[in-house]
Amino acid sequence: MQRSGKIPSSIVGPILTSAAVLDMVLVLFVSAMVTDQLSSQMSRTLPSLPSELHGAGLFVIFLLVYWILTELVLGGRTLGRLAHGLTMCDDKGRPLSAGRRINRFSRKMATCGLAGINPLTAPPYDTKTGVVWFATMVPPLPRALPRWQLKVKTGRLQGKEQSLGRFPSFRDHGLICIGRDKAWAHLVLPDASISARHAILQVHEGKLMVRDGDGSGKGSSNGTFLNGKHLKAGQAAWINDARTLRLGDVAIEIIR
């Protein structure tokens, strides 16, 4: 029962790699624990194998056993994934069926798991079998997004109107960053009173909230006002019934 939000496939690689490395240290511990006991037996069974490689051989065997146990029997739960708050699901967010787990495992084994090493992207055996990862560090997507509209009342974009659903970031993550910085903001307001990273509109626990600043605790230069009330630097507030949002000198009407 870990699941929070879906991790975009473009950024899942590092988190999965981190979890996999932790699992390997665990397997290393288990294999090191029995190396001394099994080393003499291995010398008898495989006399051609140098004794220095016994530890490595046992590590590989235990890693295979660990993969079979965790991927097929435990439904993808490993120590590393539990510690990183990761849950393996299908594209609709449901637990993986046994068939899909076997399909994924066989594809993983086809490359001895090496295809998953690339930390820059999702493993190919995940994308080909439609496996999606959820993590507790990612905010969950709200079930019903508000169908509200934003209408700019003052400033250079005066009169411009756009529904929240038109922003891809809002559809995918329930989030709209507002500011002058084109690389950061989803809604760019080219006004001198607007900070580069001025405010964030975000759906949290099914409700819309506005946060002053870029989310790091640092506030905007000219402030964020909700229904005329000034939010402290970095402060967040539920929008609820509020009708006007003012960022610096730019007033935005919230139309429901």
Partner: protein, 189 residues
């Protein structure tokens, strides 16, 4: 011109001061954690076996400690590091600058070094129970779990780039742990 110079110097001075404040905060936090741990272990020292008190704090003699207190100490240290690491990564990743990301990665590497070093300090047996691997694995799991737990509480302020920066820092931490573990093993042979 001179006013400009003064103001830029003032800005530089204020940045320097905020940097020094941050380092002071980190040092204070680490001192508090280590003092707390020392006091906790001194509690075991009531038996006169586990620790030896002194006027300057506690001198922890891990050589005379059993597996259970050493294991507990390893988990406590890992949890403290996880909290500290998550705090640092959380703050730095939210800034979104390349410099902040590099500092976050360095913090992860330092944290990994401290984790494996403390595991090596607490581990004795390299025989039937390889304690170095055990403490490292459990320490990595505890650090990651605490860090992710803290990230979860900051969900409301997370964008894709922030999550990516946190993931990269966590990956760096895990890989650095393995690297330091290998170096530690090689160093003892």
């Amino acid at each position: 011109m001179s006013i400009l110079k003064i103001s830029s110097l003032g800005g530089l001075f204020s940045k320097l001061r905020s940097g020094i404040d941050l380092v002071n905060d980190l040092v204070d936090f680490y001192k508090v954690v280590m003092t707390g741990l020392s006091v906790a272990v001194s509690g075991f020292g009531a038996t006169g076996i586990l620790s030896q008190g002194s006027s300057r704090g506690s001198l922890i003699k891990t050589a005379e400690m059993g597996l259970a207190p050493r294991f507990t100490l390893a988990v406590l240290i890992a949890c403290a590091q996880g909290y500290l690491l998550a705090w640092a990564i959380g703050k730095l990743s939210a800034k979104g600058t390349e410099f902040a990301q590099i500092i976050a990665i360095i913090a992860a590497i330092v944290s990994a070094g401290l984790l494996v070093t403390s595991a090596d300090w607490l581990a004795h047996s390299r025989g039937i129970l390889p304690e170095l691997y055990l403490f490292t694995a459990i320490g990595m799991a505890a650090t990651s779990w605490i860090a992710v737990f803290r990230f979860r509480n900051e969900q409301a302020s997370t964008a894709k780039a922030v999550i990516q920066a946190r993931g990269v820092a966590m990956m760096t931490f895990s890989l650095a742990c393995v690297l330091v573990l290998i170096l530690t093993e090689l160093g003892t042979r």
